[in-house]
């Protein structure tokens, strides 16, 4: 603001709990009004500040969330990150546009994730649940403030005003949003709560929001803004960053998850004249101005570097024994379902159906391995370019690693390979490496993990051994249910590079420094699980038993086989076991799988998605197995199966038709139908695409995926040793969306969609063969073992 300006006309208006302060600026000399956008004072000042002086926006200021430009276009800001599901660049913009009464096209700029340019932080889970509500409320507060301003300016009562396309009209007059804010500094102070660096901030209060019945933008298929850049090669990926003086780094990892450095090798100076070797603790890296030189130098150095041996993993071949005999000293937790007196129900049961289900470790397996660029400067400030679902928690983690205040760190978000939940606590993988190396060499450093490194060292999705049982009465009705889920810990948000370097590795989800939790291991216990869909069964309980990730306690740097949440976490594991035992109970009862479920629930949305599934899939109503089922021979056997999931307010049902060739063990999915009632459908096309994609991921998990490891390290290190589904195996996938605006809440499809195929496929396997598939994946070897049992 220049010295000749003076402030007059300070007005304060209460807008449903938000405070609107308006100052009109009058220039002293010439009388010209100074044009300021809503945001100019708030964001401009912060952006101009050097990295290190605060470096976050004030979320209580409207201007931190959005800018209404004089030309009536709008810039939107959110701390959540676009991970490729269109949640930010399509859905959030639709929600904001809806509440502001502007067309989607009027939101011309979207800033997301950057810790110094966005207000609220948060993580990319619950994206379209609680996450979306922030912009919905910001939009609603803003709209009310604009109406108040328009009322004053036009001299028309608020009740007589209406808005369309960013123009407020009433009493025969009209004014655009851009005109309303031009010449004023609007300070709309909105109420927020929460912790920016940990769970993120939540906008509170209840300004009037638009009833879903009046939606015109939400519910339409808008394009995800990132697509044109991706298909033309103009997208800015993290891996594209090249800074002056930047060095390319490649890591030389220990050969096991517990080996320590004995001696680092040497490089031939003639062959590698510019290559630097950096060693800190067990962190070993090579850095070179030329990227491919760093690649070859790392390979050379790896062969010449000596490490201690370590072999404290159970090996994937011993997974069942490991999960059966692991130390579950932490008391069993009851999770979401804890109803009635299950033990009494089992004592009086006519029949008890019980089974144990086992799932292996899976990888998130992004197509692009982790990459990050860090510029740690001599004044102690740092900028890190990354692709993470949780920029503020990453910033916090890096503040531990660099041993500085978070205000000295900025995390900037660029496009990256999808990684499906593994960065939810902050790091995706390479960030701590980059920060540590840049701090040591005093130059910007780009760290690109290689394929084998990403497969071995990035976090995995946890395995599960689930003991399940159902009580049936004499009429074959379910009267009791008990689940005992055994699994290894999850949510390891520590920076791997810091573990290896012996530096503080980061923070727990509650923001406290990472210290061992239970029995000396970092087992962030799972707390979310299934939602009990069968409310007529009033004696039901789920117990969860958490063990240390294998090798973590004995690894000198507490690495071991690290775990983090993966798309539809916990429920993807538990719900497979839950729905599988329900299918087994239905078969024991001699009742069709859909009919059996319908007998035990009053949930109308669940009943509706199952009925929709019947029609959409062409479901044959009959008990399983198929009367023609056979477990031997070379004749292809066909079967169909189904399952349901309740997640985050969304209701799902899915069915699969499969073929099993008993003699070869080959399983083929021929047709897959999935029905989703998410509540309000925000973007039908996007939701269909995301559901198709999640379905492919779930089919891939059911048929192909299993992380192999020996006693030392992971041995699934590429796409041959860790196969995922290929396009040749793509079945016909039918997605049916049930728009249910009366629910009043949104939901996404990224979570949920990958959790249904396993249920339907294993049920179809039993239908086709008469043999229960209680272990995944259904690769030929496992299939033959199941059929021979």
């Amino acid at each position: 603001m220049s010295a000749i300006e003076k402030r007059t006309d300070v007005e304060t208006i209460d807008v449903f709990g938000a405070t609107l302060t308006r100052r009109r600026f009058v220039q002293g000399a010439g009388g010209m009004v100074v044009g300021l956008s809503v945001v100019a004072a708030g964001v401009g000042a912060k952006k101009a500040a050097a990295a290190g002086s605060g470096n976050s926006l004030d979320a209580t200021q409207l201007g931190s969330w959005l800018t209404i430009n004089p030309d009536n276009t709008i810039t939107m800001r959110t701390g959540k990150v676009e991970m490729g599901q269109g949640s930010v660049t399509a859905a959030y913009a639709q929600i904001l546009a809806e509440e502001l009464n502007v067309p989607f096209s009027q939101i011309t700029q979207i800033v997301y994730g950057d810790t110094d340019r966005t207000p609220d932080g948060g993580i990319a889970a619950g994206f379209l649940g609680a996450g979306a509500n922030n912009l919905r409320l910001v939009g609603a507060y803003t709209y009310q403030a604009l109406l108040s301003l328009a009322s004053q300016q036009l001299g028309v009562p608020v009740g007589s005003l209406s808005a369309q396309g960013g123009v407020i009209s009433g009493g025969g007059k009209n004014v655009t949003y851009g005109q309303l804010v031009s010449g004023s500094q609007l300070n709309l102070t909105i109420p927020v709560t929460g912790n920016l660096l940990v769970g993120g901030l939540t906008v509170t209060g209840s300004p009037p929001t638009k009833p879903p019945s009046q939606y015109t933008v939400v519910g339409t298929s808008q394009p995800m803004g990132s697509i044109p850049g991706i298909v033309t090669g103009t997208a800015t990926w993290v891996g594209n960053i090249r800074l002056p003086g930047m060095l390319h780094a490649r890591m030389v990892k220990p050969p096991t998850f517990g080996s320590t450095l004995v001696s680092v090798g040497q490089l031939d100076k003639k062959e590698f004249p510019n290559t630097q070797i950096v060693v800190k603790g067990n962190l070993v890296a090579v850095l070179d101005p030329e990227e491919y030189t760093a690649v070859t130098a790392a390979a050379e150095l790896a062969g010449k570097t000596k490490w201690t041996d370590w072999s404290d993993l159970p090996g994937s071949g011993n997974l069942v024994n490991f999960l059966r005999s692991a130390d579950y000293n932490a008391a069993a937790m009851t999770v979401n379902t804890n109803l009635g007196q299950p033990s009494a129900a089992f004592a009086s049961a006519a029949k008890v159906v019980s089974a144990t289900y086992v799932r292996p470790y899976f990888k998130h397996a992004p197509i692009g391995p982790s990459v990050a660029v860090a510029d740690v400067r001599s004044d102690g400030t740092a900028i890190v370019w990354a692709h993470t679902q949780a920029p503020q928690p990453l910033r916090k983690m890096l503040s531990y690693v660099l041993q500085t205040d978070p205000s000295n760190i900025v995390v900037r978000i660029l496009d990256g390979s999808g990684h499906y939940g593994r960065s939810n606590p902050g790091p995706d993988g390479a960030e701590a490496d980059a920060a540590i190396l840049s701090q040591i060499v005093g130059r910007p450093v780009r760290v690109q993990w290689m394929r084998q490194e990403d497969m071995a060292w990035a976090v995995s999705s946890f395995p599960q051994l689930a003991d399940m049982k159902v009580a049936l009465d004499a009429n074959n009705n379910m009267t009791g249910f008990q689940a005992d889920y055994h699994q290894t810990g999850r949510y390891d948000g520590r920076g791997l590079g810091a573990l290896l370097a012996g530096l503080p590795p980061g923070a727990l989800e509650d923001g406290s420094p990472a210290v061992p939790q239970v029995n000396g291991h970092y087992s962030w216990v799972a707390t979310a699980s299934t939602v009990w869909p069968y409310d007529k069964v009033t004696n039901a309980v789920e117990y969860q038993h958490n063990a240390a990730p294998p090798g973590q306690v004995s690894s000198p740097y507490k690495a071991g086989l690290r775990i983090h949440s993966s798309r539809t976490p916990v429920q993807r594991q538990a719900n497979w076991a839950l729905e599988s035992i329900i299918n087994e109970a239905a078969a024991t009862a001699g009742v069709d799988a859909i009919d059996f479920r319908a007998r035990h629930t009053t949930d109308q949305r669940l009943l509706n998605v199952m009925n929709t599934l019947k029609t959409a899939h062409g479901w044959q109503t009959r008990p399983s197995p198929n009367p023609a089922a056979k477990a031997t021979g070379s004749t292809p056997m066909t079967g169909r199966g189904m399952g349901v999931m309740l997640r985050s307010g969304g209701h799902w049902a899915a069915a699969a038709d499969i073929t099993v060739v008993p003699s070869t063990g080959k399983v083929t999915v021929n047709k897959y139908t999935v029905v989703l009632d998410p509540g309000i459908v925000i973007n039908p096309m996007q939701m269909k695409r995301i559901t198709e994609g999640g379905s492919v991921m779930g089919i891939s998990e059911a048929l192909y995926e299993e992380l192999a490891f020996n006693k030392r390290t992971v041995t699934s290190t590429d796409w041959v040793s860790y196969p995922i589904m290929r396009i040749m195996d793509l079945p016909e996938i039918n997605v049916v969306l049930v728009n249910n605006p009366s629910v009043g809440t949104y939901n996404g499809a990224g979570e949920g969609s990958n959790g249904l195929p396993q249920l339907a496929i294993t049920a179809a396997f039993f239908d086709a063969t008469g043999k229960q598939a209680r272990s995944l994946p259904l690769r030929p070897r496992n299939v033959k073992a199941i059929l021979a049992a």
Partner: protein, 169 residues
């Protein structure tokens, strides 16, 4: 040691400095700043790094830069010009190749990391097979992995582009 060599990329001859065994991908990124092709595995297993070499899809992560001299490399960025050349309308290069347009229309990408390879492989396919069957599409695309699971959308986009290219649009 680094050598000076000339490679032809997207219709232009570039002088680059790299050791002869440097994979083309690193030269495209670091010398020519072409970031359409992506590093995925470095093993020719996933297809994220694909480019066209004289119209045929290759994996730039394992192709030594020396192997492309005297040949035409086309990257994702060069597809609109390639399409103009194929139609004989090089005077006016469209903003998008029909495949790129179809990818936008069908909302194919999710994270998008693999889509460079998908589009490049599809350009190879449609260069030789004007109206591919479903099986031909699947066979051609089978070497490209997508973790977001966009396969259904990829097929629909290729079908759209095939219709559009047959009409010469």
């Amino acid at each position: 040691m680094a050598s000076s060599l000339k490679i032809k990329v997207n219709g232009l001859v570039h002088s680059v400095s790299a050791s002869l065994d440097t994979p083309l991908l690193y030269v495209l990124h670091n010398e020519l700043h072409l970031h359409g092709p992506r590093f995925g595995c470095g093993l020719a297993q996933c297809g994220a790094c694909s480019v066209l070499l004289d119209g045929k899809e290759i994996r730039s992560c394992v192709t030594p830069v020396a192997a492309v001299s005297g040949k035409q490399v086309t990257t994702l960025e060069g597809l609109p010009a390639l399409w103009a050349q194929q139609r004989g309308t090089t005077g006016s290069v469209p903003a998008l190749h029909p495949l790129q347009q179809a990818w936008i229309d069908q909302q194919v990408p999710q994270c998008g990391y693999c889509q460079n390879g998908m589009i490049i492989q599809a350009a190879d396919l449609l260069g030789t097979t004007k109206n591919p069957t479903m099986l031909q599409i699947k066979q051609a695309m089978n070497g490209h992995l997508c973790r977001c699971g966009t396969y259904t959308a990829v097929i629909e986009a290729i079908q759209q582009a095939a219709r559009s290219m047959t009409k010469g649009a």
